[in-house]
């Protein structure tokens, strides 16, 4: 069990590092999908099969498809690869490295304080997740439902077609627009 955990953790870390160093957008997204699948295996190995399946279905299977969809439609081309090459120069890494060093120091301090805990092999079935979502965490479910509703309403409004602007001659005489249409 621990071998599986460490192996998929290594895959997740390596593929996430590949995500941030690729110059081609779609390649980076494919490495992100690999990272998400590795995380799903970690969830499964730690006793949360429902979340593992949902991670694959929703995150790697729907959200990332939408990401790739949008990147495909943007049609980036050669210039974006040159841009990425500029952005990945070593002096660009200075800021993120400083901030991450602070986090690493915090990690080391915290982990040196925690006693080692026993690994409980407890498997959470979908039924338990469902019961707890609708009893203990009901407020969170309702709030995220409202958030998603706001997203749907916004998407509908953005996707609605614009009002057709007709030529002022055609606006009055809708019936014989065919006779006048050719002269336009």
């Amino acid at each position: 069990m621990l071998t599986i955990f460490y192996l998929s953790a290594v895959v997740a870390v390596v593929s996430t590092m590949m995500v941030i160093t690729r110059k081609e957008a779609v390649h980076a997204l494919l490495y992100l999908i690999v990272s998400l699948l590795a995380i799903s295996i970690i969830f499964f190995a730690l006793g949360a099969p429902f979340i593992a399946a949902l991670e694959v279905i929703i995150y790697a299977g729907a959200i990332m498809v939408l990401f790739i969809f949008v990147v495909m439609m943007l049609n980036l081309g050669r210039e974006s690869i040159q841009q990425e090459r500029q952005l990945l120069k070593p002096r660009m890494w200075f800021g993120p490295v400083i901030l991450t060093l602070i986090l690493i120091v915090e990690f080391i301090i915290l982990f040196s304080k925690i006693r080692g805990q026993n690994y409980h092999a407890l498997s959470i079935s979908p039924k338990v997740v469902g019961v707890s979502l609708f009893s203990t965490y009901l407020l969170g479910v309702e709030l995220s439902a409202m958030l998603l509703m706001a997203g749907i309403v916004g998407a509908y409004y953005l996707g609605k077609g614009k009002k057709r602007i007709m030529h002022r001659y055609l606006a009055n005489t809708g019936s014989d627009s065919k006779a006048k249409g050719e002269t336009k």
Binding site: H27, A53, L54, I57, A60, G61, A62, V65, F69, M72
Partner: protein
């Protein structure tokens, strides 16, 4: 030791069986399509034209394996593999007979839904990697279609899960001992069949790959065995959807005892495969926006209604 050996045998058996059925379906489909179109199918090569599959396979293997120089090579090669891999992985949870299934996952049904979500990548990446306007358009349409129909494919199966009480495929089959789930979940069956057709982009939902639309959609630039992989992946998808319909709605391997359960399972699966081929022979292709509005405006509310009514009946009685 013998348990490991048993599992190895089952795994290899399933893979070999599926990789034999998928090309065999080439012959089956051509003969059935011909039967319904009032003509003969392939009947020259071998008895009843059975060697036609061998001839097709030899032809495809010997074709030049050409990757377009303007294409993204790694992703181009990866895309057809994704279809076949996800379809074959989904067969791991299908129970062929009492005790014979590759793995008895407690979340078996969710695993199938996850694999079919990942299968959408093959179309998307294939179209993008080809670096061809028509492929890109075809793959964008295909991605939108597959994402839309995935939503209520999962929802339509939740009625079955509610009646069973678990996601385990074996439990679902065993719960149909007295009454097949087709009777209480008829709407769920219809919606799942339509959504399954759209997921494997099979007629009437084959806008992504139809020959008369957009050249050939997302697989215009593919030739040789890569195209063969898309093809085989599609047939594997049909077999998968048929076997899932049989497992979830038609009692799996239950049947009168004069035939072994495995034979009943395959018999029922082939009836549904023939039904899908009949749909290809008879239905016209809807326009793309008609297809999507059919999905979002009719099937999604219907599947939610099915869920609601099933839940209400279970709670009340």
């Amino acid at each position: 030791m013998s348990e490991t050996l048993y599992y190895i045998i089952v795994v290899f058996g399933v893979v070999t069986l599926m990789m034999t059925i998928a090309p065999g379906l080439i012959w089956f489909e051509r003969r059935l399509l011909a039967l319904w179109q009032d003509r003969y199918g392939p009947n020259r090569v071998g008895p009843f034209g059975l060697m036609q599959v061998l001839a097709d396979m030899i032809k495809i293997f010997f074709k030049e394996d050409w990757i377009p120089p303007f294409a993204d090579k790694k992703v181009f090669v990866l895309a057809p593999a994704i279809v076949v891999v996800t379809a074959l992985m989904s067969f791991a949870i299908v129970p062929f007979a009492p005790g014979i299934s590759v793995s008895n996952l407690n979340i078996g049904l969710l695993f199938f839904l996850g694999m079919s979500s990942l299968g959408a990548y093959s179309v998307v990446l294939g179209g993008w990697a080809s670096n061809n306007k028509y492929s890109l358009l075809g793959s964008l349409r295909a991605a939108a279609q597959m994402l839309s129909y995935e939503v209520f494919m999962g929802l339509s199966l939740m009625g079955v899960v509610m009646l069973t009480g678990s996601f385990n495929m074996n439990d679902i089959v065993l719960a149909q001992k007295n009454r097949w789930f087709i009777i209480p979940q008829f709407i769920g069956f219809v919606i799942f069949m339509i959504a399954g057709l759209a997921e494997t982009h099979r007629l009437p939902f084959d806008i992504p790959e139809a020959e008369s639309e957009l050249i050939a959609g997302y697989h215009s630039e593919y030739s040789g065995m890569k195209f063969g992989m898309f093809f085989v992946g599609e047939y594997l998808g049909i077999t998968l959807i048929s076997s899932l319909i049989v497992t979830l709605f038609f009692g799996g391997w239950f049947g009168p005892s004069f035939l072994p359960p495995v034979v009943w399972f395959f018999l029922k699966t082939f009836i549904f495969v023939s039904l899908f081929i009949l749909l290809r022979a008879s239905l016209p292709r809807p326009r793309y926006d008609q297809l999507l509005s059919y999905g979002w405006k009719l099937l999604l509310p219907l599947s939610l209604l099915n869920l609601l009514i099933t839940g209400a009946i279970i709670l009340s009685g």
